[in-house]
């Protein structure tokens, strides 16, 4: 295998590394002060708005305004989702950045690796700081629009979480802003033996960021699952009189939402890093840059996909808790008004897994010696049998029955053991092609519903096509195949997608260890795959965010605060798709602008003069 090594014709690698550091530190910081100033302004604005909101909440009977374009719900929807998308990135990216910085630090004398990890971390940080301003701006707008359009409910919510909105959240936001500044401005000062301190600062930034997320998740999750009284008090009396702030924060879905959003933010950060890499690759004029951004995209995709593997399970946990809180939420999501939203989710997840595996394939294709890589036949057979066997196991022993975990673990272990004993192998090409087949089959199972109908709640037994309210039905699955539409089949399908992707990565890793890779020589179409992955991930986040919000039905706070406005009904999937696409495109335009502004226009001699990298055999010093 070849890895990045520094070729330093004009001096030692270390000298070139030091030269790069000196150049970048001198040239980049002043320009960046502008965006940091903007960030500060926005952060202060947000905090002021929070203060205004807290004061406004004390006003008696504030009057609602009607948003002229699309109505109040659409206005809140757009601003809230934009805010969450920016927030997701500024929380996900720092995890990515610090991990990259640590990897660079651990690279020690391997200056090439150190350089590329450092450059990656720094470039993503630059984009993050710009987007931090947008998070603050959209956060402020969100509060403003909420107060204008739903004043009574907003006042009620602020009153119930006064300490959160007026004290804790603003303080955390200020702390995060200060740490982000410190992190950025001390980047060059805290190098060499002080690097550990800079990494610690990055870790602190992540901790504060996560705490901020968890704090704001409290009111958000409370709206879905307001805490019930253990003493048998009715919900309204308990919330209005007895429940403490902590009771309200620590509700059924608080932790599931925290976990889901944390994992989702890492996926998001990874895929947006992939997007940055794709843009920069498309704009690269030198082999050096192409090599760097090819590698950059690879790392972004790897982190995005790595976290994506966990995301379905985190989502499942959140859905499980929602259903556990109130079983009527479950059919509303899966079988009633939102059932086709989940069909769409299935399609999106399938496309994301196909695209991420396609990227792995494109990356593998350019590895010299890939044809020598072989996998055990037992692994292939295991992969093929997973959907059927796991579906049968989970039908017999539904999750969370302990047998639902033991049997699959034993099954996988047995096949791996057989693979060690029986020497038959298959080529990597065959393995990849079968893996794609399994992704398609897995997704087809995921997408198979009881019926293609917008609501099947009133579905008659005989599967006839007329429904009570005249909804369009396109036929019901027959009884003999209805297991494909049940939860065990969906779980088996999700597991298949994850399992296949893991196998592909194992194979890829083997190819990297035993073959030769030249960065910068990947098929050009791969950059469009990275763009597609980021776009699809954002779109899916938007879709599932809508689902979570809509599970409150005609309540602002489920079962507690009715939404008396005329817009409390479930919107159609078609209408939602237009809004979600509009929001995604808007976000993309802003992110693209931020990337171009910070990285393309920021391209200077310092970057142009970085040491050239050429592939050399792995293990060479």
């Amino acid at each position: 295998m070849k890895i990045w090594r520094l070729k330093a014709p004009g001096g030692s690698s270390a000298a070139r590394w030091m030269q790069w550091r000196t150049n970048t530190s001198g040239l980049r910081m002043p320009r960046f002060a502008v965006s940091s100033g903007v960030t500060a302004a926005f952060a202060v604005t947000l905090i002021l708005l929070l203060g205004v909101a807290a004061a406004y909440a004390q006003l008696p009977e504030p009057k609602a305004h009607t948003f002229p374009l699309g109505g109040n719900r659409a206005a809140v929807w757009v601003v809230a989702q934009l805010h969450i998308l920016f927030a997701a990135f500024i929380l996900g990216a720092p995890i990515f950045i610090v991990v990259s910085e640590i990897l660079g630090w651990l690279s020690g004398e391997n200056y090439a690796a150190r350089y590329r990890y450092e450059r990656l971390a720094k470039e993503v940080t630059k984009v993050t700081v710009i987007l931090y301003s947008m998070t603050a701006l959209t956060g402020g707008l969100f509060i403003f629009v909420l107060l204008a359009t739903y004043p009574q409910f907003t006042a009620w919510l602020i009153n119930h979480f006064f300490a959160v909105f007026a004290i804790i959240y603003p303080l955390l936001f200020i702390a995060e802003t200060i740490i982000l500044y410190l992190y950025w401005y001390t980047w060059d000062a805290l190098q060499g033996p002080k690097k550990g301190r800079h990494i610690a600062l990055g870790a602190l930034l992540n901790i504060v960021g996560l705490v901020t997320l968890f704090v704001i998740d409290g009111p958000t999750s409370f709206m879905n699952t307001p805490v019930k009284s253990a003493e048998g008090l009715d919900l309204k009396t308990f919330i209005e009189t007895t429940a403490t702030l902590w009771d309200k924060m620590d509700n059924y879905t608080w932790w599931p939402l925290n976990i889901h959003r944390t994992v989702g933010n890492v996926v998001f950060g990874g895929f947006i890093a992939g997007l940055i890499a794709a843009y920069m690759y498309l704009a690269s004029k030198t082999d050096e840059d192409r090599a760097f951004y090819d590698w950059f995209g690879f790392v972004g995709n790897m982190i995005g996909v790595g976290a994506l593997l966990v995301l379905p399970f985190a989502g499942y946990l959140l859905a499980y808790e929602l259903c556990d809180y109130d079983a009527s939420i479950c059919p509303y999501m899966m079988a009633d008004q939102l059932s086709m939203f989940f069909e769409m989710q299935g399609a999106m997840v399938g496309l994301i897994f196909l695209a991420s595996n396609y990227y792995i394939w494109l990356s593998m294709k350019r590895i010299e010696g890939i044809e020598r890589i072989r996998m055990s036949l037992a692994t292939l057979l295991l992969m093929v049998s997973v959907p059927v066997v796991f579906m049968m196991v989970w039908t017999k022993f539904p999750i969370p029955d302990k047998m639902a975990f033991i049997i699959p673990a034993v099954y996988v272990g047995a096949w791996l053991l057989i693979g060690k004993i029986i020497p038959w192998t298959v080529s990597s090409q065959t393995m990849v092609k079968v893996a794609f087949l399994m992704v398609i089959i897995g997704n087809a199972i995921w997408m198979t519903p009881h019926a293609f109908v917008a609501t099947q709640a009133l579905a008659p037994d005989d599967g006839s096509l007329s429904l009570p309210h005249g909804e369009v039905s396109l036929g019901f699955i027959t009884i003999s195949w209805d297991m494909l539409a049940l939860m065990p089949a969906k779980n088996a399908a999700a597991f298949t997608l994850v399992f296949v992707t893991i196998i592909n990565y194992i194979m890829y890793n083997r190819a990297l260890r035993n073959g030769r890779i030249i960065w910068g020589k990947i098929d050009f179409v791969s950059q469009f795959v990275l763009v597609f992955l980021a776009f699809s991930a954002i779109w899916t986040m938007g879709l599932m965010g809508v689902v979570r919000e809509l599970t409150r039905k005609y309540f602002h706070v489920f079962n507690l605060q009715y939404d008396f406005t005329p817009e409390s009904f479930t919107p159609t999937l078609a209408y939602s798709s237009w809004l979600i696409t509009g929001i995604t495109v808007t976000f993309y335009i802003i992110v693209s602008f931020a990337i171009v502004l910070t990285l393309r226009t920021g391209k200077d001699k310092a970057v142009a003069e970085v040491p050239k990298a050429v592939p050399v055999p792995a293990g060479a010093k």
Binding site: E61, K236, L282, K285, D326, A327, S328, P331, Y332, A335, D336, M340, E343, M344, M348, L354, Y358, W361, V432, K433, N443, F452, V453, A454, A457, L458, P460, D461, D462, P468, H469, E471, V472, L474, G475, T478, S480, W481, L486, D523, F524, V525, F528, V531, F532, F535, W539, Y554, N559, Y562, F564, P566, F569, T570, T572, L573, A574, S577, T581, Y588
Partner: protein
């Protein structure tokens, strides 16, 4: 890596193979009695698979930069956005007007119970009364005494009719109860007349009127832990039936629902036996 084939050759060879597989899948799905829409879905997956396998072996895309790259990106975004919107539009759509009607029936009485609702209602009534009195005054000013008597008589008769309607009041309690059954979406877990949940979340209720007295039904509705349906141990243990109805439903609504459930006495449908807990 094996030598790359031309894209055209790939499309033709894999396209033919994909078409053959599509036909096989279509026939197999038909023989297995999948409805037509599922047959179409499986064929679409074959099409997707064909595209994927063409892409896997497709020759590398030549690189380009500058305006061409920007144009390609914009076109790509437009294509992906269009595909996502089209996908969402092709799926069956829920009709919001159905839910709007339901929400009105549920939410309006709740709004009326709030302070704001009461004030709004009073304001509305006073505005109506004001408008009416103004109209009467206007007519009194312009027409004679005979007309005045007629107005008084007509106002009185209208009021009497309204009062009579109100006294008749309850209307068909069972019909109101059936309405509540739908408004509270009980059908998501239960089945009556073969209609309702496709999953076995809760018991069939066709003969529940013969198995439980009205007060027992009420006890179950307001305190789901008080009774369990035979064979629903897991569901009972998971507390699947929400315990929110005592808070969300008014007394009259509960009574109407109980009246409806008590009227369900179809002995031909096997209904799980209730067990007191």
């Amino acid at each position: 890596m094996p030598e790359e084939k031309s894209l055209l050759r790939l499309v033709v060879t894999k396209g033919i193979l994909g078409a053959v597989i599509a036909v096989v899948v279509f026939v197999a799905a038909k023989l297995m009695h999948f409805p037509p829409v599922f047959q179409i879905m499986f064929m679409l997956y074959v099409l997707l698979g064909t595209i994927v396998y063409i892409l896997l072996d497709a020759p590398a895309l030549p690189s380009f930069t500058g305006a061409k790259a920007i144009a390609a990106l914009v076109a790509f975004y437009a294509l992906v956005s269009g595909a996502f919107i089209a996908g969402a539009n092709v799926l069956p759509q829920y009709d919001p007007s159905v839910e709007k009607g339901k929400i009105d029936k549920i939410v309006k009485p709740k709004l009326a119970m709030t302070e704001k609702g009461k004030v709004d209602e009073l304001l509305k009534r006073s505005e109506e009364l004001n408008a009416r009195s103004q109209a009467i005054m206007k007519r009194l000013e312009t027409i004679g005494g005979a007309e005045v008597k007629s107005i008084a008589a007509s106002t009185g008769s209208t009021g009497g009719a309204a009062a009579a309607k109100s006294a008749g009041g309850g209307g068909d309690l069972i019909a109101l109860g059936k309405d509540q059954y739908e408004l509270q979406e009980c059908y998501n877990c239960h089945k009556i007349g073969g209609k309702g949940s496709v999953k076995k979340r809760g018991p069939i209720l066709d003969n529940i009127g013969n198995l439980m007295k009205p007060e027992e039904l009420k006890e179950k509705l307001l305190n789901p832990r008080a009774w369990m349906a035979e064979g629903f141990d897991k569901e009972y243990a998971k507390k699947l039936m929400p315990d929110k109805y005592k808070e969300l439903m008014a007394d009259q609504e509960v009574d109407a629902l109980i009246a409806y459930l008590s009227s369900l006495k179809d002995t031909s449908v096997e209904t799980p036996k209730p067990i007191k807990k």
